[in-house]
Symmetry: none
Subunit: 192 residues, 4 copies
């Protein structure tokens, strides 16, 4: 990702993939939005698939930097989970197009789709470790940590996706308190 030419093409690709999906996106459109000739795209990326693979790698890196790396190592489990939820929403807001791509292209048996799932699995695994630690310390009570980890991820990502498609500019961060509360504490009235 050295040259700025490469980056311009890459950004155009994210743009186009998120708008059309992998199959319907065309290399012509990507080249046009990047403002380069089609041959140039092929000079920097060997194929359409390759462009997509790059996306996964880049995304994994970003997810690390912008979400996982920000989880406080020494806080309590609940607090760490709250941070995950909040930062994941922030990540969605900051990388809208990219997130749409991932969540749309993760379910299937094509090579790139497995790649995307691997990335999600990796992320969910991080959630799981927080939960495991919380359980070990007696702070949390979770029978099926794997299921719970996926359901947290699913709840946050699907909800975010829904609001983004309702309104491109929706401030996802405002959902954070509600999601944190309902996911961690549930919503049955304590009184009952």
């Amino acid at each position: 990702m050295a040259s700025s030419r490469t980056r311009r093409i890459f950004q155009a690709a994210i743009d186009v993939f998120s708008e059309y999906g992998f199959e319907k996106a065309t290399m012509d459109e990507i080249a046009a939005r990047a403002g380069v000739a089609k041959g140039t795209v092929y000079y920097h990326f060997k194929s359409k698939e390759d462009l997509f693979v790059f996306l996964v790698e880049e995304g994994t890196k970003l997810l690390h930097e912008q979400v996982l790396a920000r989880i406080p190592a020494d806080a309590k489990a609940e607090q760490r989970l709250r941070v995950v939820i909040r930062e994941l929403l922030a990540f969605f807001r900051a990388n809208r197009d990219f997130c749409i791509i991932i969540l749309r292209e993760a379910w299937g048996e094509e090579g790139r789709q497995r790649e995307f799932r691997r990335m999600l699995v990796h992320f969910v695994h991080a959630i799981r470790e927080i939960i495991d630690a919380g359980v070990a310390s007696g702070e949390l009570m979770v029978e099926a940590p794997d299921t719970v980890s996926w359901s947290i991820f699913g709840a946050v990502s699907n909800t975010a996706l829904h609001y983004l498609f309702m309104d491109k500019e929706y401030d996802l961060l405002s959902l954070s308190p509600q999601l944190e509360r309902s996911l961690i504490h549930g919503f049955v009235s304590p009184a009952l």
Copy 2:
């Protein structure tokens, strides 16, 4: 959906769409799996898009019959939410391919994608009504019923999807107790 021929083609379409996604699925493959000539597919459905539209309609009907219609009208909110979760999982198990299609093709701006979202919105709205009733009766305590409804749906569907892609035959119903518990009551140890 009268003739059995029509149904055969429709089933083949679900099959192929779930395996390849809308864009990559080919009418040739659908015809081959249905065991008819390509022209026959077009005799029964006027286009690829049309086949997809049928899918939405059929799916909406199934979702109604197999999930929404089974929610007990007079039970308590918590109980009704548990049923929704359980039946949704059962629905995923019974209509694996169809569900994969929906969740994959729901996010985008194409006509069929909006159609799918409309269907999801409809379903989530049903969850929301249960929550509203529970809040009205004091049984539940929910600040943001919309967000919570989407997060329930997202949690269940994403988790189901994940397990299905890990193992086609995974018994999704076994996830039900865990999801019911963690979603409704949260998972912070009561002790703390």
Copy 3:
């Protein structure tokens, strides 16, 4: 052309052919407009081409009855030419769709196109005979009777076509005096 069924289909064919042209017309549309099943069309006419051949035959007959047969055998050449022009315009008015088909499909090397040209040649030959007779009697002075015959036919038919496409209901007969005069006498001011 016995049964009324056959006639209904034939009329529908003229309708559709004149609207779409031979190639773009479909047997489905013809069947639909005739109010019969597609198989029925094939029961009465062996193929699309066959339907077209019928058209030529039928048209030739009509042209005979409605134009050629009305030329007074014993009148002077000029008078007979005037009748030809007038009756040809009347024929266009009465068989609008059919005439459009003929003039559109006459120029090409396909079998049916040669057939149509044969029909035109036959008609133009009738004009030529009038001219020849007029020349023989000293009434007319024509160096190239063949060329003149075609140019009369071309002038009348093209002009008619133009007005019909400007206005479906245009009264073609009103063109008759003008065409008769200008074709037979020319239009250079006699004074000069």
Copy 4:
């Protein structure tokens, strides 16, 4: 129409269209005759229709250059009409295929057909202006200049078409004196 490749394809298109007509012509055949791959045709012209539109534009230009621009501005009306007839025949001879296409595809309601008619209307209008001028100067005596203009055009074009289909190599220019004379002066014997 810059590159020679583009021109080769265009020529092949005229060739094929004139031989088969718009509907029956295939892009495969055009590509084959141009000696390029099918994709190449689409690289230069975005659709079959587009190729046809080009034809109209190109043809309109040629008609201007080769016919209309050659009409002497200061000659007498009769002389100018003679030139129109002569140059139109020359145009038919020089652009045989193109002319066949135009006259065959001008009558119908499709977009391209209206386009072709527009072109003819433009041309006939030029004839009409000559006639109008001749009438104004007292040189001609024409009651219905519009009808006469169309009939001149129809006479020349239909006659030319007929001879071309009889003999591809027929020397159309030899028809000019006959057509000029019979159209302008009529053919009733002056003696009578």
